[in-house]
Symmetry: C4
Subunit: 342 residues, 4 copies
């Protein structure tokens, strides 16, 4: 199996799988892969996920490193009056598109990975070189607000305006409409769900109701969720940002990243879905990314993992669902139509 | 002893002990078990607990994993105006009853454990499937407020109304009155103690005045305490919840859980009582629960531990106390009748 | 040397040394001990303390575990209106005098240690059994305010009244005036220094200007400082107390204590002074104290350490200073007579 | 190469290199050193820094421990009304110039290191002995504000006055104008950049836009940046300072320092630039500095590192840039001329 190449893999699956699977992971056919999993389950091997998704190419786990390239948008939105003259947080954010993103893309190129980036539209305009390099690498760029405004605080007409202005910028600068969305500070509202459905988005990636992708339906339609989790978000271990009242005790790279790898180990064992919610100015810093790169090399060498952009992972699950070969969990929205406390 | 089965155990004790004891733990008779402990103490083996409770079946330690299934009640109570439209914290909480609780119950079923859940009445109504599954597994459900309202902020008639409404919901949905109570955010007041006694509760589990169960008496009667402790609460290592001003630096699963296991080691050595105060949406997450499950398997395999619902543990101590074979520590309440600072 | 008993030690030193030194530590005479140190320094062994104090009995390091037995005073002072009805923090604090202090005293008795306790006068009156047990064990009790009021917020006549009322309670309940003082939340003011000198105190233990005891002089006289340090304070690793806005990510016992032991290792190597600033309701908890006890056993068995109450340690340094055999560092107070920022 | 002495090194380089390089690091000539690096890169050894700077003497990495000697300025600036009477934070700060700085200088002297200190002018006047000792050791002293006032809060004429008054004190007390500047709390504004250029400063060290030194240009001129990073700042692991709303969970020395060493390992491997942003009252504490000293000894013994004051490191890069043998990354300032959200 080690000799199989990536070409072979994409022939093995019904849809084109553009991202990398560890070289140890290639099964002879998708059927064989499914049989592997069935066999595993039949042998009674424990899985802690009730409805695991069959992944393409015999992969045991789907993985997406998603980078929210917020750059310095955070300081402008949190300190509207003088954020533009606070050079320290600006420089901390600029490290992302100017130093970290090229480094990350180098790694992805060398390892043959395609992954996802979520970028506020204001950042798309401020940092065109980073955006061009991301697109040139074949990566996905998702919607992440206009200038990282919190949807809970930007409602109604203001939210629609921000959302659609951002969408226009995406279309103009990337040449296509984004398929996925991640809410700034995860703060999706029902209005945002409605906007996603209205604009034909494939998925959101801001919610936490499951370990693996699931479907959300509303009276108006459906949108999928590629769920996130604080256990693989890099703000708790690495962010230290007094200006936005977020002061974590910055961890050693190995200590902070260990949490992410333990989450991966559990997802891998259970046949699940692992997503890193990272930021170039945090996990893209030299000492951290150096350790991530080594982990990627080791994982690709020894494990059967499907690294892919979220849009491909969601497309895969949707396809299985439409075919009837997989039944996803479905969350009915809106959850509530009014206050629960009277 | 390894050959003794669970039947044998329950025959060994005067009351029915429905939960698991590690297979290595079964003594031939309760008398033998007590002799074991006496012998241990007689041999001068150190114990750091002054009045250890003789546990049934020769167990060295009583253990209860208690899950507070708060689901999304927290966001509604903390953000009454728009909590119902904050989908991220709602989804974070929903993970509990929909994904984590089935997983936890699977583990308990496989290992033969009965444990305790504390559930706000609002959650009982919102998540009937989780409640039914918990009851079907033979687990205890305790009172945990109406919608997780803080008793320090909900006093007098409002507290009585919330408490008794919740009690009615428990009776209607579980078919019986709860025997135990845990205060939201641990915030028991003297009024709540009075309500527990008035309504015939067996125990509270919100206070910290000892390592092992103790008795609280008031002029109106008595109620027992199954004491908790921050060292085995999963909020400090795992919760990250800006909306309720609780931002901890989320730990790697092994790092957070290590604290709990060290607490267990100390309780086990001292012949004490170990209680986890956990939440399905935190410790029931995949990577954490996977490690808990392994710890449970190892502990049951190698240690003489009595895992039981709190109501059984308290019933056991009460029985010994009534028999006169154990003298508990007693706290006289109310502690104070007015301000201590003038 | 291992055969020398504690009797021998106290004969070896000019003053009575009531506390334990590790059995490995006894030199034949104080002169020999001083020569040992001189020899060590002469051999060019590194020391990172510029003016190390010669300790009695050939000890390389003086150590004091100091427990601030605050019990539930903190909740009353921080929530004056309803603190008396917040049973959870009351019970968390009560664990100190009722469960932890007896446990700590057991350990001290078994190991032959005398140590220091600082107790707010209100707690002395509330918890007479704990106070009697501490006195019966021969330990020191120092002044720690009336009810843990912060001296920075309680100034002038109010501070004098609180300070002197507390002093009266000490005299009445312990039979003698305290020799030492620790400010609640370390917040010594110049007025408190003046009160200490006025009332003939030997030392304060709230400040951080050095690693080892030093002298503070004012125009009115002098008082010594037994310096503290956040690196050996148990609030950062173990306290979790929302009611007083102090929410630390509670550590595993071994993880929190490791910081203290590393501080000890450095002090031991440098011939310095190690002080734990601990609280019965935190470090006296079962799992933590079990690990402390083991560390004490191991340290006493293998190291030349002088465990003593702070009053003995300060008396020793004062004596050397009066004899002219040691020159302490001196801090001139008051530091400032007015605002430094105009 | 181990036999080469420091003399030889300074002959090897075009400019005088006053600080230490590990003894294992000396190349026969600067040309050889550059060839080494070229060879390394030619052999395809990975480097995660795109434009690494050739360091003198064949060093693989430039290192600067920079100490911000803030002493007790922080409490005066944060509590202007009563800071002068808060003896605990004053004493915590005084530990820096009186105990830690002599210890740090001892280590530097023994190991032959010259490093950088940034000192608020108010501290220069308050602690002349520490300043004299730093100058006597041949170390750099940089500008760090007048009394640690935050430039974001001290703007316009007030900033100019504070900046220039501080400059005068530097000139008068150190005999020369500082070449470098670090903003209190890193908070550089565009006005400060302009003042640095106006007063002929060589570099700032408060910003985070890259891993290695870079150039900043404005319409008025240029100034270099010696970039900092939260991953090597000692406030997150060690500071605990309620009075300035900064309460971190103080780490064990080895745990806090590990983060810094991992950052070093990554910079060393990549041929980069490692800077510690430390404080005498934090990392100069006994147990921490003891571990730092050992790390320094080990690093100097085994690695090819150029330890130097920031002014020398910046002078080196500027020289290479002027010679045309290195092309730095350049940031164009001001970043913005007005609010980005209005």
């Amino acid at each position: 199996m080690l000799g199989a190449d990536r070409r072979a893999l994409s022939q093995d699956t019904a849809e084109d799988v553009p991202a990398a699977i560890g070289r140890a992971s290639l099964a002879a056919s998708p059927q064989a892969a499914h049989n592997d999993r069935d066999a595993m389950l039949a042998r009674g091997e424990k899985t802690m996920i009730r409805n695991p998704i069959p992944w393409p190419g015999g992969a045991r786990c789907a993985c997406a490193i998603t980078f929210d390239m917020d750059a310095d948008s955070l300081i402008h939105i949190s300190r509207p009056k003088d954020g533009h003259d606070r050079l320290y947080p600006i420089s901390m954010g600029r490290y992302g598109p100017t130093v970290a993103v090229p480094r990350i893309l180098d790694t992805y190129r060398r390892l043959g990975l395609k992954q996802s980036f979520f970028i506020p539209a204001w950042c798309i305009e401020q940092y065109p070189d980073a955006v061009d390099a991301i697109l040139a690498g074949g990566h996905e760029i998702g919607h992440h607000g206009l200038i990282h405004e919190d949807p809970v605080e930007t409602r109604g007409a203001a939210q629609r305006a921000a959302f659609e202005t951002a969408l226009d910028i995406h279309r103009r600068r990337t040449g296509k409409a984004p398929r996925g969305y991640r809410a700034p500070v995860y703060n999706v509202t029902q209005q945002v769900i409605d906007l996603l459905i209205e604009h034909g988005f494939s998925y959101d990636s801001s919610l936490m109701a499951d370990d693996i992708p699931y479907r959300m339906t509303t009276p108006a339609g459906e949108v999928w969720e590629a769920p996130v989790h604080w256990g693989t978000d890099d703000w708790p271990p690495f962010a230290h940002y007094a200006e936005i009242d977020y002061l974590m005790p910055v961890r050693a790279p190995s200590d902070g990243l260990r949490a992410f790898w333990e989450e991966f180990d559990a997802q891998y064992e259970a046949g699940g879905f692992w997503v890193g919610i990272w930021h170039p100015f945090l996990t893209g810093r030299l000492a951290r990314w150096r350790q991530v790169e080594r982990w990627l090399e080791e994982t690709l060498r020894t494990k059967k993992v499907w690294f892919a952009p979220l849009e491909d992972i969601i497309a895969h699950v949707r396809k299985l669902t439409l075919e009837g070969s997989y039944v996803p969990r479905t969350e009915q929205l809106p959850y509530y139509t009014g206050s629960q406390t009277g």
